[in-house]
């Protein structure tokens, strides 16, 4: 194409500006965790790690900030439970839709995708409403106090599970589709039992997808806010604790420190899942 050099340069500048737009807020959130000042803003007063390790006010570091640490622990164990549950359910769904034939299969497939297009806030309130209706009914009819149906960790787990299962199902089904069924037939012909074929042939093949589905589910759960906000009880996960702090105390560099930990942590996990998807070539 003649005379397109100019255009190509403008194009490149645009792409460059776009990436600047992408990283600017992340850099800002990260950099001020290391500024020796009580406000996350300019001027730069020198490098410090106080916002991570200091144990005295007013610069109480992240490692000594009790509520933030508790929030982090809550997010961690909620994430592990939700990821394990949604990978298990996702595996069942993958086998159901890849291997089985049944009436109205395509309609059910659409139903499986639907949770992704329901806003998270709505998933949250609808599960809150249903759980409260059941709990009130049990209370008034049988005098049962079902505290786990009131806002709290069990409801957060259910709320996040409800849409993460769609993601894990799609990731695992994509890999199961690539599986060569003749491998299973060969193993069966050689006398292996169904269970043995599953554990020694099929599941090892699926492992990379299971692993990265687990990591994706864990990360999304850890970072989820909208659904969690509606279902949170007294044990708040990290995002809710951070949001509370932001609204009540305003921005303090300790929030920048949390941001750094979150960015580094999720970056590493994301990298791990990319590597796991790639390394053992299936063919």
């Amino acid at each position: 194409m003649q005379g397109s050099n100019h255009l190509l340069w403008i194009y490149r500048v645009y792409v460059g500006l776009f990436f600047l737009y992408l990283v600017a807020p992340l850099l800002a959130a990260g950099a001020f965790a290391f500024n020796d000042s009580t406000f996350p803003s300019l001027p730069w007063r020198g490098f410090t790690l106080d916002w991570f390790i200091s144990d005295t006010e007013p610069k109480l570091g992240l490692l000594n900030d009790e509520p933030l640490l508790r929030g982090m622990w809550n997010s961690f164990y909620i994430g592990m439970i939700v990821a394990a549950l949604s990978v298990a359910a996702g595996t069942c769904n993958a086998f159901l839709f890849v291997r089985k034939d049944f009436p109205f299969k395509s309609a059910f497939y659409v139903l499986m995708v639907v949770p992704l297009v329901i806003p998270g806030v709505i998933l949250g309130i609808s599960i809150l409403v249903l759980a409260s209706m059941i709990a009130n009914f049990a209370d008034s009819q049988f005098g049962l106090f079902m505290t786990w149906l009131r806002p709290g960790v069990p409801l957060i787990v259910l709320g996040q599970f409800s849409f993460l299962t769609t993601i894990t199902s799609l990731v695992i089904a994509a890999r199961l589709q690539k599986f060569d069924i003749s491998l299973e037939e060969a193993a069966l012909n050689l006398g292996a039992s169904r269970l043995r074929v599953l554990t020694t042939v099929t599941l090892p093949f699926l492992f990379p997808a299971l692993f990265s589905a687990f990591i994706v589910a864990f990360l999304v759960s850890f970072e989820n806010f909208n659904t969690t906000l509606m279902l949170v009880g007294s044990d708040a996960p990290l995002t809710i604790t951070m949001y509370d702090r932001m609204v009540k105390v305003g921005s303090t560099p300790v929030l920048n420190a949390v941001s750094v930990v979150l960015m580094v942590g999720s970056g590493l996990l994301a990298l791990l899942s990319v590597v796991a998807q790639r390394s053992p070539k299936p063919d």
Partner: protein, 289 residues
């Protein structure tokens, strides 16, 4: 495998699916539909009818919030498409093999960072004592610090930032499949750049465009953090109203009504989008995840 065993395994695999979709998706939606239709007339006394919806239609504040949320969401979707398309095209077609993967990965990095961190980053940059304002003052461009938060432009910038990656990912994966010879043929037959773009590139990328627009629109309309944090007290965003009714005022009937309305509205837009472009949910949204 005998037919009975096949049946049994089908039932065993179907059970978790049915429990999940039934108990966590369908029943809860019926639940908010039910609550939205009942009206409190006394302690534990309810009447059924469309009173809550009528109340909504009469209250200008709530109606306007829904319209505002709707038009900002559509605007953000358009902006994300217009701004994201050249980037996706660059990654898929122009960048060299090696830098392509790196650029794509760079695009994905913010995807892995929590909404909260991203909104917080914008706050650090844009508030009155923030980086941009301070830097402009020290460079002498402006005389005193200015507040750049709490207005619509900032909310839109923040929302586009939050969602644009969900536009780029499906676009790149669709356009990567496009054969360069298609473009060459278009040019050889005398097509101008614009014609080639309009007649070849856009139709080819259509499934990606539809998927991206649907995902972006849904995420924007359902977003909470970005409008509330960057828009401040007066952001009047619809999900904020739902939260206020449910948690702050404990008015579940009104909250459920708002929830149903938001769900109906977003579903309507998605359905229209799919109808107009002749795509289906299973071939667009499900494909790229």
């Amino acid at each position: 495998m005998s037919r009975d065993a096949g049946r049994l395994s089908l039932i065993l695999l179907f059970a978790p699916f049915a429990l999940w979709i039934g108990l966590l998706i369908i029943l809860p939606q019926i639940g908010i539909g039910y609550i939205s239709l009942r009206e409190k007339v006394g302690i534990n006394e309810y009447e059924f009818g469309f009173k809550n919806y009528a109340d909504f239609a009469q209250a200008a504040v709530y109606r306007n919030t829904l319209f505002r949320t709707a038009w900002i969401s559509i605007l953000v979707t358009m902006l994300a498409l217009v701004l994201g398309f050249p980037i996706s095209y660059y990654i898929a077609k122009i960048a060299r093999e090696r830098s392509r993967a790196a650029l794509f990965l760079m695009c994905l990095i913010p995807l892995w960072v929590s909404d909260l961190v991203r909104a917080y980053g914008w706050i650090v940059l844009l508030r009155e004592t923030g980086v941009v304002s301070t830097a402009l003052v020290s460079m002498g461009v402006i005389n005193e610090p200015i507040e750049m938060l709490y207005n619509d432009v900032t909310v839109i910038i923040g929302l586009v930032y939050t969602v644009i990656l969900f536009m780029i990912v499906p676009l790149v994966s669709t356009m990567q499949g496009m054969d360069d010879s298609l473009l060459e043929a278009g040019f050889n037959l005398g097509g101008s750049r614009l014609t080639v773009f309009r007649r070849i590139v856009v139709p080819y990328a259509m499934p990606g465009i539809v998927a991206g627009c649907i995902i972006v629109f849904m995420i924007t309309a359902g977003s909470y953090l970005t409008p509330v944090l960057l828009g401040g007290k007066n952001s009047s965003w619809f999900t904020e109203q739902i939260y206020n009714q449910f948690i702050t005022r404990y008015n579940w009937e009104a909250g459920a009504t708002f929830g149903v309305l938001l769900l109906l509205f977003t579903s309507l837009v998605v359905w229209l989008g799919l109808r107009l472009t002749g795509q289906s949910l299973a071939t667009t949204v499900a494909k790229d995840t």
